[in-house]
Each structure stands twice: as structure tokens, then as C-alpha cells.
């Protein structure tokens, strides 16, 4: 069977991701002291081999900060920073004046920290709302073409699910012209449980 989300289910999941996104953007704001905008929040369900349609710029050199997610749900959380966004973000955090156009070990360490904090803040909201306790692993930073990164990640997802549920958030620090995308991937088998808990919480809120 193929998984499909109804419009209502998509809206409900979007509500959940919006709350997660606002926590992640607040965390990024506190880390950098800059105003952070959320420009895209998207929920997508697709076969792993077709999931690339959500990403743009096949040959773009990108840096990813990636973590495994485990606990009540199995998944992967990662950030994508295209081109020079990676070291711009790292140096904004560390207030470094370094001008070299590559990631130094200090930049990498800063990015790992950003990844840990943002993933932690996103997943803690997710855990609370979806009623599934999830934690993330240590992070790893890889720079390569976007298609190699995404295809390899989809290969990992494909080892436990044929279909992938993707939550996408785009965060922008306009003053510094820095963009990052956060992706949370999981097997759609958890969708039902997440939806039930989200509905319950949303009702409580009202």
C-alpha cells in the first residue's frame, strides 16, 4: 500500500511542524542574536527514490549537519547549508573574523553545536506534541553535492522504509543573508500515532 495524507492530516502535521519550527527559530535567534524568519514549512510523503523533488539544486555544493533520531520513532534529522552559508553561519555564532572560504575545524565545531541545539529544540517540541519520546545522536558534518548527500540519506531511510515522511523548515537570517533548511525524515508508520496525539493536544489548546 502507498501512504497518502489527506488535506486535513497535512494541515494537522503542519500545525505540529510550525510549533517545532518556531522553537528552532527562537533557539537560532538566541544563539546568534539576529532576527530569524521561517519561510517554508512543508510536509511531504513520498517513495524514497522520488523524494529528491523536495530539494532543489542537484549539483549545488552543500554542507549537512546530520543526526540519527531514535527512541519512540526512527528517523534522521539534518540541516542543509548551501555554498558559503555554512561558514557564514558558523562565524556568526563564534563572532569570528576569519575570511577563508572553507569550513575550519572551529567552524565545524560551531556547526555541530548549532545542529545539536536546533535539533534538540525541534525534537523536544515534537516529543511533547506527538507523544513520542525521540532523541538524537551526535552530529556529523559532511560537504558534498546536494544530490550525493540526499541520495545517500534516502538510501539509509530506504533500509527501513520504502516511503519517507519529510518535515521541511527553511530558516533565514535576513540581516546576514544566511539560509538553512532543516529536514526531519521518518517512516510514515508513525504518522497515525503522531496525528492522534497532535489532535488531542490541539483540542486541549482550544
Amino acid at each position: 500500500m502507498d501512504y497518502k495524507l489527506t488535506k486535513m492530516e497535512t494541515d494537522e502535521l503542519k500545525e505540529l511542524i510550525n510549533i517545532g519550527a518556531s522553537h528552532a527559530s527562537t533557539a537560532l535567534n538566541q544563539l546568534t542574536g539576529k532576527r530569524v524568519n521561517i519561510t517554508i514549512t512543508k510536509v511531504d510523503i513520498n517513495r524514497v527514490e522520488n523524494a529528491f523533488s523536495l530539494y532543489s539544486g542537484k549539483e549545488k555544493i552543500s554542507t549537512t549537519i546530520i543526526m540519527k533520531v531514535f527512541g519512540g520513532a526512527t528517523g534522521i534529522i539534518f540541516f542543509l547549508l548551501h555554498g558559503n552559508n555554512s561558514y557564514k553561519l558558523a562565524r556568526l555564532l563564534t563572532k569570528s573574523k576569519n575570511k577563508v572560504e572553507y569550513l575550519t575545524s572551529f567552524d565545524r565545531s560551531a556547526l555541530n553545536e548549532i545542529g545539536n541545539i536546533l535539533a534538540g529544540s525541534f525534537l523536544s517540541v515534537f516529543s511533547k506534541f506527538a507523544g513520542i519520546t525521540v532523541v538524537h545522536s551526535i552530529s556529523e558534518i559532511v560537504t558534498d553535492t546536494l544530490s550525493s548527500i540526499v541520495n545517500s540519506i534516502m538510501g539509509e531511510v530506504g533500509s527501513f522504509s520504502d516511503v519517507v515522511l519529510t518535515f521541511k523548515i527553511k530558516l533565514i537570517i535576513r540581516d546576514e543573508n544566511i539560509e538553512t533548511e532543516l529536514y526531519f525524515l521518518m517512516a510514515p508508520g508513525f504518522t497515525g500515532k503522531i496525528l492522534n496525539m497532535t489532535r488531542k493536544k490541539l483540542k486541549e489548546k482550544k
Binding site: V142, S148, N151
Partner: protein
């Protein structure tokens, strides 16, 4: 140079003479190129996983996937390519293989002694051996992505390592 065909993940292409087949974004995925030099006929498949999982897979719940989706799996991609190459006049006994990819891009996904990349490579070797197709050359493993261009005029495979 003749026509250029670009394939994506889980897709394949076959052809002859001056056709060029390209694919990119090869991380842990495995690209298999098969070539019959006498007929100048060959094909390329871009597979992402070694083989179908036995349990909890939609493929095992009555859904028979046909067409390009078969090429998601290394073992089925090799079988499928041979069928398609024979359809256009290539001979199985003349085929030689080149395999590219199977990188381990992320350390956090390594499982003790193996990884998706290594499993893809192992499955390809086993399947090709089973079918009696020799591996002419290979560029596998490592930790960076690759792009591949396969020229059917002369069977030359060009690899770009993305760093």
C-alpha cells in the same frame, strides 16, 4: 558526440553506438554499467539499495512494482539491464561490467563492519558472478560522491569525484 541521456536514482537507460548516458549524485548508491564491445551496446542503472527487504516492505504486500522502480535494487537492476540490452541486440556472454559508487558518506550510519554502500557493492559482485559477467573495472568505496558518464561508442566510463 551523440545524444546524451541523464538518468536519476532508481532509473536505467540502454542504447548503442554514439549514445552517452550520465548520472550524478552517487553517494552510497551503486551505478552498474554493462557493455557489449562487439555490438557497441550497453546500459547503465543507478541503484540505491542492495535488494528488497524481506519484511515490512510495500513490495511484499501485493504491490508488484514494474518499470523503473525495479532499478532501485542492485540485484534487480543488473537482471533488468541484461534483459533490456538483449532486447536491442546485445549478447549476455559478451557483457562486461563496470561498477561505481558505494561510498560511505556518513560515519554515523556505519553498522559495525558494513554500510549501505558496502552492501550495494557486495550484492553487485555476487550477482555479476552468479550471472558470469566479469567486472572490467571499478571505482567503489571512499567517502565522497561521484558523477558518471558512459560513452557507448567506445565503452569508456568517465568519473567525476565531487569534493
Amino acid at each position: 558526440m551523440g545524444k546524451i541521456i541523464n538518468i536519476n536514482i532508481a532509473e536505467y537507460a540502454v542504447g548503442k553506438n554514439n549514445l552517452v548516458i550520465e548520472t550524478s549524485g552517487i553517494g552510497s548508491c551503486l551505478v552498474i554499467c554493462l557493455y557489449d564491445a562487439d555490438e557497441k551496446i550497453g546500459g547503465m542503472a543507478h541503484a540505491m539499495l542492495p535488494s528488497r527487504r524481506k519484511k515490512n516492505s510495500v513490495f511484499n504486500q501485493g504491490n508488484t512494482m514494474i518499470g523503473k522502480n525495479n532499478y532501485k535494487f542492485v540485484d534487480e537492476a543488473i537482471e533488468g539491464l541484461i534483459v533490456e540490452i538483449r532486447k536491442i541486440g546485445g549478447k549476455k556472454e559478451k557483457l562486461k561490467a563496470k561498477i561505481i559508487g558505494g561510498a560511505e558518506m556518513f560515519n554515523i550510519f556505519k553498522k559495525k563492519l558494513t554500510s549501505i554502500g558496502k552492501e550495494n557493492e557486495r550484492t553487485a559482485r555476487e550477482k555479476l558472478e552468479e550471472l558470469g559477467i566479469p567486472i572490467d573495472s571499478e571505482d567503489v568505496g571512499g567517502s565522497v560522491g561521484r558523477s558518471v558518464r558512459f560513452n557507448l561508442e567506445n565503452g569508456v566510463v568517465s568519473i567525476i569525484v565531487n569534493m
